[in-house]
Each structure stands twice: as structure tokens, then as C-alpha cells.
Amino acid sequence: MKLRIGYFYKDLLNLYGDNGNVEILVSRCKKRNIDVDVYEVGLETKLNKFFMSGIDLVFMGGGPDSSQKEMYKDLTTSKASFLRDYIISGGVSLFVCGSYQLLGHYYKSADGSTLQGLGIFDLSTEHPGNSAARCVGNVVCTMSSTITGDPSFPHESGFGGSLVGFENHGGRTNLGTKSSEFAVIRRGFGNNGKDGTEGIHFMNSIGTYLHGPVLSKNPHLADFLIAKSLELPASGLAKLDDGLILNAHNIALDLN
């Protein structure tokens, strides 16, 4: 058994420890003797259908403004159609913060200028201007039933459906009417601080604002992604000793 991860723009989008997500996926597979290949996809990488058909899981994080500009040009010109086909055909992927926003219809920045998104996710993001406070802080939320009801989601993990992390974003995201959220906010802002939604769950892809990195204290989400990518039921993955992580998760449930 082998998990093949497509790791987009590792060197450009390396803010907030999000690279830890891939480290965690690799570590949890290795503990179960599942081989992992990580394919880095950068500015120079030429994608093709054959390459994408060999990918089981896509990860993409967020980055500083300067590298996001560089990445944006490359993403929209040479990667967009492959990523769209991958997601529409049910490929598993995780997008955090900056990349989550870019997969929507558009991003209106603080100065009023608008950046066209890939339009894969039915959502749009607007920055209310630099006088508005950023959405910053610890987050607690509950994953939506579209995730926890999936046969690949581990119910016996001891973590239930709760999710903890840290958010730090200026833009407010609004989901389209047909989109379903990734999670429901218990504490924090989430997509926009108003409608109680956090992230998006579309086909087998997840977009989220959560850092931490998001998989660090949510191993049930990490295992869901692994099982889903390998097309296994949750029972198909050996149980790991996550006692230490459960402590960290439970403490984070009470952080304000």
C-alpha cells in the first residue's frame, strides 16, 4: 500500500507551520507501514494528466503576500485545469487559508482590488479593509456530518467530531448557497465571524482557515484524509497511540 501526496508550493507557502500537515501525514502512515511518496509541485513543475492520476492526496497551505503573488500567476496559468479536474473527479485534498481563498470565485483585498480565483469552490472572500480587525485566535468547531458520516471517518478515535486550531485571516469568506461547510464554529470566527460556518467540504476536498497546523491536534482528521485517499474504511487503518495528542486536543477545547 502506498500513499502519494502532491505537495503544492512547499517553499512558497510555508507560513504558520502548515508544512507540519505533510510531516504528520507521512509520520502517521509510516507508523502503520504504509509507504509514502511526497511529490513537490512548485513553479517549475509541469503537470500533466498522467502525473495527477498518480496522486492520492493534494495539500496546499498559505503564504506571505509576496510569495502568494508569485504562486498565483503560476497556479492560474499552468496548474488550474489539472487541479480542477482532480477535485471534480473526487480527488482528496486539503487547502489551508490562502490557498482555500484562491480556490473560490474571487478575493477582494483590503485596497479594494479584486483577484480572480480558480472558481472550483463555490465561495468568495472579501477583506473589509485594514480598519477592520483580523480574525485571529483559537478556534473550536464541530466537523459537519458530511465528514463524520463518511465510512472513512474514524468514530472510535476518542476525539469525536471536534476540531481545534488557530485562525489568522483578514478576509471574510461567504459560501455559495449550494456549498456545505467543513465545520460549525463553537468558538472563534471561522469563515466570516457571522454565519457560524468554517471552511468548505466539496466532493472529497476540504478548505479551511485552521492552522495549528490543523492536523497536529486533530489526528482523526488526518486519518480520515489518509483512509479516504487510500479508499479504505476507517477500520482499514491500524489504531495509533494518540494519548498525548488527546491531552493537547482536550486542553485546546478550553483555550480562549
Partner: protein, 376 residues
């Protein structure tokens, strides 16, 4: 009149807050004065005899400012230095107004990266040392690009006579000003001091180059380096109940990774490692930076230390991070209460040395525990 009133206010509030134990004593006096006189820093009574020397950057500010201060003092100058690390605008104002600034030769100030541009609006320094810029407290500051952009804008407005000293390995610093001077990490002077690590070699070279240009002869500099004692929490050694605690502030990925290099100087048989991670306001509430520490460095340098103790409000986050990087974690050595770790857990170990890697508020808490006081 306004200057005298400001000095009076600062003195009263400083004495009050120190006596009542509110904050570090440096925050409120400057805060109040800045509310009353927002342009206080432009008062010409704030000038010192030979000029201001400013040190900014993510890591190494306190050590570099202390090096410059020490060398200048050894050369006979009267120096004002904000040695407690009060490096935001309010702390700087307090530091300056509490001193008899007119009789000071050099005012050597470490300044928070984001505060530097605001300070430069009012005061033209003699020289600025810019050490580095890396990820630190993003939940407060945003990204390093934003900091760099603000530096560039404010430095452009300075008179051309202001000398800028910067790390030669940092390409983003190359074009900050027309009068750039560079330092590197060559280690020939490091061995003259009790400091360790290539990051401290850079701090020493920055300080040396800067004071040489102020006219201090090299022989004087070298003998000053020999008598230099490290700043609190930055290579400081504290003896406590038969153990030697070596404190190295580790508050962001860069300083944590640098400090992992120091483990080479300690024997795993006789050394325990204590990592303390807090998420208080001065630290930033976001601890996700611990995943920006290179996991290979953790595995290669830390995993061989059996005595690995973890404390602080976010000790479990740190324990999980180190476990993912390949360290084996003993749950009995993970405890959020630092007092319990020092009094009850660590005494069970025979190791004589404890290398302590705390982040900022953790370092202050730890010093308070061992020394009964937080800062100097």
C-alpha cells in the same frame, strides 16, 4: 515645562507601579506620557551627547545591545541601555525619561521590529544594526515582508549620515540604504567570549563593527569581549539545588533551531533538557510555529537526550510536536506546572546540567522561580 512634567509623571508612575508590582514598571509611565504628549520623542531635550544607537531584528537584539553597551562602557563612555528588554514605544519613552539623558554619551536601545519605524519618525540615530527577520508572533505582526516594507520606508527618510549595519547573508537587507555596512558569522571573536553558536558570532561581529566605526580601538573591543557576561535568559547560567541551569531563550523557529545546535556542547549522560512553551500575550497566542522547527534537527540533536522534560501552558502541544519529529516522550516528564517540574520531577534525575529552552514569558516565569525575580 512639558519635558519636566513628562519626567515627573514617569517617575511617579514608575515608582508606584514598581511598588505595587504592576507589570514590569516600564510600560505604564511611557504609555501615559505618550497619551499626554504624543510627540514627546521629538522634544530636543531627549538628545544625548553622542547619539542614539538602535538594534532591531527578530533574534539577538538583547545580546547585541548588551555587547555594544559593555564595550562602550569599558571605553569610558556613559551609556543608557534598555536592558530589561522594554523595547516597545512606551518602554523606550520610560527608559529615556527616567535617565538624565543630557549627561548620557550613547543611548543604546533594542527596538521591537514594528516599533522601529515609529521611533525613527522622531529621532535620527547615529547608527542602526538590523540583525535578521524571521517568523515571530505572526498573530500580532503579520508577515516579515510587511516589517521589511516599513523599515524600507522609514530608513529612506533618514539623513544619509545614518549608518546601517546588516547581516551580509540576508539578501533582503542589501538595498535598505546607501550607507550599508555588513557583518557575517565568522567565529574568530566568538571564542573570546562565553557565548556560543553561530548566531552569537553574528551578534558579536555586528557589535564590533559598529563600535569600531565609533572610534573604539580594536584592542579595547577585544578585552571587553573577554569580560562580557551574557544577558538574562540568553545563555545565562543559574545554580539551583545542585543543578546548573543554562537558559537559552527559544521563542520562534529560528532561535529554537539555533539553540538545538548548542546541544552539541552538552553530554546526554549528564544533561537534561527542559523545554517550556507558554501562549501568553507576550509570546503570541499561536503556537503553530513549533512545526516550522526543522524536524530533522529535532531528531538528530534532541532525540538522544533521554532526560527530556516539557512544561508551560502548551506543554502538550510541544510534546506532540517533538513526538512527531521522532523523540520518545515520557508522560511523567510532561507537566504544565513549571514549579512542580523543578521541585518534584527534575530532582529525581542525576544529571548536573539542565539546558532550558523557554519562550519569552516562560523564561520570565522560570527566572522568577529560581531567582525570585523576573528580570534583572
Amino acid at each position: 515645562m512639558r519635558f519636566a512634567l513628562s519626567k515627573f509623571i514617569v517617575l511617579i508612575i514608575f515608582n508606584l507601579s514598581t511598588r505595587l508590582g504592576i507589570g514590569s514598571g516600564y510600560v505604564w509611565p511611557g504609555h501615559v506620557v505618550l497619551k499626554l504628549f504624543p510627540s514627546i520623542l521629538s522634544f530636543k531635550q531627549l538628545q544625548c551627547r553622542k547619539g542614539y544607537i538602535l538594534i532591531s531584528g527578530t533574534n539577538g537584539k538583547t545580546t547585541t545591545a548588551k555587547l555594544i553597551t559593555h564595550i562602550l562602557e569599558q571605553s569610558g563612555y556613559k551609556v543608557l541601555n534598555n536592558k530589561t528588554g522594554a523595547n516597545l514605544l512606551n518602554g523606550l519613552v520610560t527608559t529615556i525619561l527616567l535617565a538624565d539623558i543630557g549627561s548620557v554619551d550613547y543611548c543604546v536601545l533594542e527596538i521591537d521590529e514594528f516599533t522601529l519605524p515609529r521611533f525613527l519618525e522622531y529621532i535620527d540615530p547615529k547608527a542602526i544594526a538590523l540583525l535578521n527577520l524571521s517568523r515571530d508572533q505572526l498573530d500580532r505582526y503579520g508577515e516579515t515582508d510587511i516589517v521589511l516594507d516599513r523599515w524600507q520606508q522609514s530608513i529612506r527618510k533618514l539623513p544619509p549620515s545614518v549608518r546601517i549595519y546588516a547581516d551580509s547573508a540576508e539578501p533582503r537587507f542589501k538595498t535598505l540604504s546607501a550607507d550599508m555596512h555588513f557583518f557575517d558569522d565568522s567565529s574568530e571573536r566568538l571564542s573570546l567570549t562565553s557565548l556560543k553558536g553561530s548566531f552569537n558570532a553574528k551578534n558579536i561581529n555586528a557589535a564590533t563593527k559598529l563600535v569600531q566605526d565609533l572610534g573604539i580601538p580594536l584592542t579595547g573591543i577585544l578585552s571587553s569581549l573577554d569580560s562580557f557576561e551574557s544577558a538574562y535568559g540568553r545563555g545565562e547560567q543559574i545554580d539551583f539545588f545542585n543543578k546548573k541551569y543554562h537558559l537559552y531563550l527559544a521563542k520562534n523557529p529560528a532561535s529554537f533551531t539555533h539553540n538545538l545546535d548548542l546541544l552539541e556542547h552538552f553530554s546526554p549522560d549528564n544533561t537534561d533538557v527542559l523545554i517550556i512553551l507558554n501562549d501568553n500575550i507576550p509570546d503570541g497566542r499561536d503556537v503553530s510555529w513549533i512545526y516550522d522547527i526543522d524536524p530533522t534537527a529535532i531528531k538528530d540533536k534532541l532525540a538522544m537526550f533521554n532526560g527530556l522534560y516539557i512544561s508551560g501552558t502548551r506543554c502538550y502541544d510541544m510534546a506532540v510536536r517533538l513526538q512527531y519529529a521522532g523523540c520518545s516522550i515520557d508522560m511523567s516528564k510532561v507537566n504544565p506546572l513549571i514549579g512542580e517540574v523543578v521541585r518534584q520531577v527534575l530532582p529525581k534525575s542525576k544529571a548536573e546540567h539542565v539546558l532550558v529552552l523557554p519562550n519569552y514569558s516562560a523564561m520570565l516565569d522560570f527566572r522568577k522561580l529560581l531567582l525570585g525575580r523576573k528580570i534583572l
